[in-house]
């Protein structure tokens, strides 16, 4: 089960609203490589993981991603507060505004709403963990690209933190993949799918 802790993972205080920047950062809320997809990907993949260490890692990284989702939502919320209609129009935030006012909606910066087709649960530990490595890289580069468009130190600092977490998660998923490989046939790790084929009973 999950219990909510009433605090952010990292402090956020954006002094200056900037709806244009919000319309870019929203991609890490509901875009193809954003935090919503990350949390659902890992928290769903864990059910078919046959080994304890991998179950733990997916649970704990998936949970951390939920606090990142809250952080990105907080950035969008604080960047769009107290806006006038003319500020919204001038900043190019009007298309988002028409559909969502200043609510926080899971969508990509390009306007595509969040879709489960941007994530996968294959039920195969090697394929899933390799997807997770790629997912961390895709989120990392999205944060790189946000940093190219962001001059506000209050926002930059938060994006820098989130970006660094992607690198740490990449390392941990890599170690998890190594651990899975150690459990498999050493000459051919693709001999069978340990989440489905019951050729060998192995425990962590």
């Amino acid at each position: 089960m999950f219990v909510y802790e009433k605090r952010l993972m990292y402090p956020i205080h954006v002094k200056n609203p900037d709806p244009k920047l919000a319309s870019l950062i929203i991609s890490q809320y509901g875009g193809p490589d954003g935090e919503l997809g990350a949390s659902l990907r890992y928290l769903s993949q864990r059910f078919s993981m046959p080994y304890d260490k991998a179950k733990g890692m997916l649970t704990d990284i998936g949970t951390e991603e939920l606090s990142h989702l809250e952080m990105v939502g907080t950035l969008v919320y604080q960047l769009t507060r107290n806006l006038s209609e003319s500020q919204i129009k001038k900043a190019g935030f009007d298309a988002y505004f028409i559909d969502h006012t200043t609510g926080v909606y899971p969508t990509a910066a390009s306007g595509f709403p969040w879709s489960a087709s941007s994530i996968q649960v294959t039920g195969d530990p090697i394929a899933d963990l390799t997807e997770d490595l790629a997912a961390e890289q895709k989120a990392r580069l999205t944060y790189d690209n946000i940093l190219r468009y962001c001059d506000d130190p209050d926002v930059k600092d938060v994006i820098r933190f989130l970006r660094e977490r992607e690198i740490v998660h990449f390392q941990r998923f890599g170690e998890t993949l190594e651990n899975v490989k150690e459990k498999l046939d050493h000459k051919n790790i693709y001999l069978y799918n340990p989440a489905f084929d019951r050729l060998k009973e192995q425990k962590d």
Binding site: V3, Y4, E5, K6, R7, L8, M9, Y10, P11, I12, H13, K53, G56, M57, D60, I61, E64, E70, G73, T74, Y77, Q78, R81, I126, T130, L133, Y143, D144, L147, R148, P153, K156, D157, I159, R160, F161, L162, R163, E164, R165, I167, V168, H169, F170, Q171, R172, F173, G174, E175, T176, L177, E178, N179, K181, H186, K187, I189, Y190
Partner: protein, 155 residues
């Protein structure tokens, strides 16, 4: 607190000389699979405030983008003190998930868990409960009282 603050390493040649930024790989590795080296045990660590500011406890994993090399110091407030302790637990927890036999890391995890528990109790007394369940510790039900975390001046 337990480890001295470490100077951030930002030049590639220095990373390559730094053992805590490197791990080990098999010298004769099977084809057609991907490899990420395990992080070595006893890797160098930041203290909790620096860890929160950098987004990692480990200098060896701190690999910034050129548009934002330096992590700014996080202002010291009761909330950020708690966030720093909580962050070390999150980070060490992930490390321990793949290195459960590292006793030194586990001991550090235990020490930080004790500090975080104590810090949380003190924080909740002054600023309100952090979980709905802990609202029971107060005379009145204050759980719904703002500011909520995403609001300006929030927790």
């Amino acid at each position: 607190m337990f480890y001295e603050k470490e100077t951030q390493l930002t030049e590639a040649p220095e990373w390559n000389q730094c053992p805590s930024a490197n791990g080990t790989l098999p010298s004769c590795a099977p084809l057609a699979q991907s490899y990420v080296p395990y992080q070595e045990e006893e890797a160098r660590k930041y203290d909790q405030r620096e860890a929160l500011a950098q987004g990692t406890l480990f200098p060896g994993l701190n690999l910034p983008f050129y548009k934002s090399i330096e992590g700014d110091p996080v202002p010291v407030t009761p909330l950020t003190e708690l966030q720093a302790l909580g962050f070390v637990l999150t980070e060490l927890g992930l490390y321990l998930d793949s290195h459960p036999k590292d006793q030194e890391a586990f001991e550090l995890f235990r020490q930080y868990a004790a500090l975080e528990k104590q810090g949380k109790a003190e924080y909740e007394k002054k600023y309100g409960s952090l979980t709905q369940c802990n609202a029971a510790e107060h005379k009145q039900y204050e759980w719904v009282c703002g500011p909520w975390p995403w609001e300006i001046g929030g927790k």
